[in-house]
Symmetry: C2
Subunit: 174 residues, 2 copies
DNA sequence: GCTTGACCTGTTATGATATTACATACATAG
DNA sequence: CTATGTATGTAATATCATAACAGGTCAAGC
């Protein structure tokens, strides 16, 4: 693969309109950019973006949908990688740790991160029909919760915010 | 069972300090009150609080922790009810539909609702150590998300907000 | 160059969670 | 008392996830 051009936020559609899962956009650019960032991020942290891991990321980047571990596994097996669950789960775990993918609790599934490298812990808008996932800003919601938690003496470590509903495309069909 | 006294918010600890999962409180009252409300709520809606369903609610009400469906099932089986998964799942689904219990996605588990009858869609504070669950106010968080969703043309139907961390008791132990 | 050690991949086996499908029982309205 | 709808019981299976171990790869240091 040729070395990708350095990322330029000013010209990157993903940066200009970050929550574009539901909007028409240049997805080839979107995916290629995310992959390029993934190379940069892992190189910087000393982590290894091995063939399996990279392939899993590519699979997740094919669109803005969430895929189950076994779906990913089937794709991997078709590509000649191992076909036992740990192969997929380990690669997915790695990507999540590196901030390159997110786990969607509601679906027991995984989706590529739309903003890799930008520290964030987003909220997700999940289409119950097509399993598209968009990332939304979660900071206000987190802050509100933090207040209640502090009052109760509870220490929050991680917060999951997921909204299930219908994306624009699926709404039109119905 | 004797008819429970009508619910009086002014004298009910659960109403005075609603998020008491982590605080010392008169839990016998707390559970009895929730059970009494459950009878009232189901009677009002025409739903039937059958023996299995009632027993599942009692089990969940034993404390403010989340229990897996199979944990509930084992308890049911010990009480002479069926011991196949659908027995537990159906009762739990019923309780969730009636607003008498909540599903905790993060744990694949269920907890009795702390405020049955009060229309709400709460956020949860979940102790990763003891699986205690407290309910917190989710309205501000939902509102913030709704704004983003509207901008993207996404229709939110249900929102899950779950914070994982340590409750005061488990924090003290560590 | 070889050894060592860390890490990654593959595989077997199993555990944990959840649903489908169908049979039976039970309450109640007519 | 029978038809109907609803609830329960059971078997079988689907789906999601991890533990445990064997073998391979690769780079650092001798």
């Amino acid at each position: 693969m040729p070395t990708p051009a350095p990322h330029n936020p000013a010209t990157c559609p993903g940066c200009a309109a970050p929550d574009l899962a539901f909007a028409a956009h240049d997805h080839a650019h979107c995916a290629a950019d995310a992959l390029a960032r993934a190379h940069a991020i892992t190189a910087a942290s000393g982590a290894r973006l091995t063939p399996v891991r990279r392939r899993v990321l590519e699979i997740l980047l094919e669109d803005h949908r969430a895929l189950g571990a076994y779906d990913v596994l089937a794709r991997l097996a078709a590509d000649g990688f191992g076909n036992q669950p740990p192969v997929a789960y380990r690669a997915l775990e790695f990507l999540v740790e590196q901030g390159l993918a997110h786990r969607i609790q509601r679906l027991n599934a995984f989706t590529a991160c739309a903003h890799p490298g930008e520290a964030h812990a987003p909220a997700f808008l999940i289409c119950r029909s097509c399993h598209s996932v968009a990332e939304a800003e979660a900071a206000p919601a987190r802050d509100a919760l933090a207040h209640d938690a502090a009052r109760l003496g509870f220490t929050i470590e991680r917060t999951t915010i997921e909204a299930l509903g219908l994306c624009p495309a699926c709404k039109d069909q119905a």
